[in-house]
């Protein structure tokens, strides 16, 4: 990281905090996520990582529901599984396949942690998002994405 960027970090963090606050009340940006895309943000934002976007469609092309939801015991609920990196590395949840043998391994952080910072945990396009709690599907305003979470991490 260059000194030039180092000097800008406080500014970037400040801007991110401001935008995140506005996000709670601001208008929802245009979200066209694929139906069934699951955003997992139980810990990511707090840990300075981008939230995880789980492309459900991609996995169901390759595995039937049973492979994950019965054999691995993954509950049918976004955020309902207490997944963290220790468990993944130990071969639980995502780690059952994402181990470098069946699928790529945990060092490819950005492939999972690819969501816009501030996007809440949810299943995109779900009825409950559309009807019962409209507006909760929005990530933080587009501007917040400009502040890379990497900057906050390297504080």
């Amino acid at each position: 990281m260059t000194p030039n960027i180092m000097r800008k970090i406080p500014l970037v963090i400040g801007a991110a905090a401001l935008l995140a606050t506005l996000g709670l009340f601001g208008a929802a940006p245009d979200v066209q996520a694929e139906y069934g895309d699951v955003v997992l943000n139980n810990y990511s934002d707090k840990a300075g990582m981008r939230p995880v976007v789980f492309p459900h469609w991609f996995h169901r092309v390759r595995y039937r529901c049973k492979a994950c939801h019965a054999d691995l015991g993954i509950a049918f609920k976004a955020g309902g599984n207490d997944i963290n990196m220790v468990k993944v590395i130990d071969g639980q949840y995502c780690g059952a396949c994402h181990n470098g043998k069946v699928a790529w391994s945990v060092e490819n952080c950005d492939l999972c942690h690819s969501g816009k910072p501030g996007t809440p945990t949810q299943t995109h396009g779900s009825t409950i998002n559309l009807l019962a709690a409209p507006g909760t599907s929005a990530p933080a305003p587009a501007g917040a994405a400009v502040a890379p979470p990497a900057a906050a991490k390297k504080k």
């Binding site: 208008a27 940006p29 245009d30 979200v31 066209q32 996520a33 694929e34 139906y35 069934g36 895309d37 955003v39 981008r50 976007v53 492309p55 459900h56 469609w57 991609f58 169901r60 092309v61 390759r62 595995y63 039937r64 529901c65 049973k66 492979a67 994950c68 939801h69 019965a70 054999d71 691995l72 049918f76 059952a96 396949c97 069946v102 490819n108 952080c109 950005d110 492939l111 999972c112 942690h113 690819s114 969501g115 816009k116 910072p117 996007t119 299943t123 995109h124 396009g125 779900s126 009825t127 409950i128 559309l130 009807l131 019962a132 409209p134 990530p139 587009a142 994405a145 400009v146 890379p148």
Partner: protein, 519 residues
């Protein structure tokens, strides 16, 4: 003799196998894209099943029919209005229609020679078409630092690097530019054609005439002004088929007598008719993938032509319909209303139809990760992820959810997802037991098929936590489903959504059946 028969029947079996596969795909494309017109014969299109109408078209050879469908002809928009469809998909759809029109297919419905037609259809307008569908979002406005179409200064350093380098950047992405402009379903050749088109708009004397002979009227200088000529471009691609000739009673461009009464009704009414259709005029001129703003720009262009205003750039942005004061008064000196096209997000917010959250226009379905609003486009991983459309092209389509019919996809073995993560050969234990639930209201009774569910799921996924495996023991309501309980654990999240009422409520009640039978 006997040997001949044997050979003949062998050839028949092989061709039938190929045709059967083709027919499945053809029907899928037909249902989504062609049926709106061809099922009813709208706008003079040959109706599916009408052998006489089709015979006229196939008289010139089946390849001419394929080429017309791909390039568009008369009221028929290019590729039925969806530029994402491949040549092979179009051909499969035509073959399906021909097959459904007995008496036509047999003589000239010979081989879907996809390659031959592809060559015929790779006409010069291809680059422009691809540009408009995949590149214009950024390269027309300069969003995200993209070099604007026709901006010589911005393009010069890039052109200096050579066309091959430019094509590589377009194919693989560079900086904010996503691979293939974010539309991974585009074939490489299309992307190269679009690059060629953009380059042709920059260089003086470059391949402009070759790249866009269909619309030689669009001079390069016009493109250099911000979005200049947008209305004209849209007009030529989507409206000219009828409005330049007066087909189907369309008022002709520049025909004051025909247009004046329409203009007098107000710009808003004209735009509404153009967007939603009226009489023989299909919504958006039959090209549903056009942005509302583009249609408005085209309307503004047509009106300007009629009123004698020079075709100098009249740009209409979404939400800011061109202000036309005193529509009857001739105003040749009034400068056209200029507005800077806002970035796509702003357009969507100002779109009067933006409130319709459930009905995504075709252009917004199956967005690539970089454009879907939840992936961080600045993350290095985002560009490496597969775009849904790159995976879905060969799958049976539906009209909601992922726009994929997952049950059909697995039934036709278009996908063969593993039952067990470790054992590739493990097969599901499918249980064929249908449960009928009589519902209290007026809706038809619910038919629950275990078969389609056990193709995907283990018994323990649903029983006993979600559903008690006992007749009458489960209280299920639509309210619970919409809150994500019972069927709503999957339906409305990852399986087909609750908007598809009739997929579950599919058995008419005895009384209903009797009533409908009497009619």
């Amino acid at each position: 003799m006997g040997r001949n028969i044997l050979l003949f029947s062998l050839a028949l079996v092989i061709s039938c196998g190929v045709q059967a596969q083709d027919a499945l795909r053809g029907k899928a494309v037909y249902d989504v894209q062609c049926a709106p017109c061809h099922a009813t014969g709208l706008l003079g299109s040959p109706r599916t099943g009408d052998a006489a109408a089709w015979a006229k078209r196939t008289a010139a050879g089946i390849n001419a029919v394929y080429a017309n469908a791909i390039k568009g002809k008369g009221s028929m928009p290019a590729r039925g209005g969806d530029a994402r469809l491949t040549d092979a998909q179009i051909i499969a759809a035509i073959n399906y229609m021909l097959k459904a029109s007995p008496g036509v297919a047999s003589d000239k419905g010979e081989p879907a020679n996809a390659k031959g037609v592809a060559v015929a259809a790779t006409d010069s307008g291809k680059g422009r078409t691809v540009y408009q569908s995949a590149c214009a979002a950024c390269h027309a406005t300069g969003a995200a630092g993209a070099p604007k179409l026709g901006d010589g200064a911005a393009w010069a350093p890039r052109v200096g690097a050579g066309a091959a380098a430019l094509q590589a950047s377009a194919l693989k992405g560079k900086g904010a530019m996503p691979p293939k402009g974010g539309n991974m379903a585009l074939p490489d050749a299309d992307v190269r054609a679009a690059v060629g088109f953009m380059l042709a708009q920059v260089g003086p004397g470059a391949a402009a005439p070759a790249a866009a002979p269909a619309t030689p009227a669009v001079a390069a200088p016009a493109q250099t002004t911000a979005d200049a000529g947008k209305g004209r471009t849209v007009y030529q691609s989507a409206c000219a088929a009828c409005h330049s000739t007066g087909v189907a009673g369309a008022p002709k461009l520049g025909d004051g007598a025909a247009w004046t009464p329409r203009i007098n009704a107000g710009m808003a009414a004209l735009q509404t008719n153009a967007l939603k259709g009226k009489g023989a005029m299909p919504p958006k001129g039959g090209n549903a993938s056009l942005a509302d703003a583009d249609v408005r720009a085209a309307v503004a262009y047509i009106v300007a032509q009629t009123r004698g205003v020079a075709a100098t750039p009249a740009v209409a942005a979404a939400g800011t319909p061109p202000v036309m004061t005193a529509p009857t008064a001739p105003a040749p000196n009034t400068p056209p209303v200029l507005a800077v096209a806002p970035p796509p997000q702003v357009q969507a917010a100002n779109d009067p139809n933006a409130f319709n959250r459930l009905l995504a226009p075709p252009s917004k379905r199956n967005a690539a990760p970089a454009n879907d609003g939840i992936h961080d486009a600045s993350s290095p991983g985002t560009m490496l992820l597969q775009a849904p459309l790159a995976s879905f092209t060969t799958l049976a389509r539906s009209t909601t959810g992922n726009y994929v019919d997952w049950v059909a996809a697995i039934g036709k073995k278009q996908i063969q997802p593993r039952w067990d993560a470790r054992d590739a050969k493990a097969e599901p234990t499918v249980m064929d037991l249908t449960i009928v639930r009589e519902v209290k209201g007026t809706m038809p009774d619910v038919v629950f098929p275990h078969k389609q569910h056990t193709e995907w799921l283990d018994c323990s996924n649903c029983h006993p936590a979600i559903f008690v495996p006992q007749k009458g023991a489960n209280q299920i309501s639509m309210a619970a489903i919409m809150l994500g309980q019972k069927c709503g654990v999957c339906h409305g999240k990852v399986a087909f959504p609750v908007s598809e009422c009739r997929l579950c409520h599919s058995r008419a009640k005895p009384a209903q059946a009797a009533r409908e039978g009497k009619r």
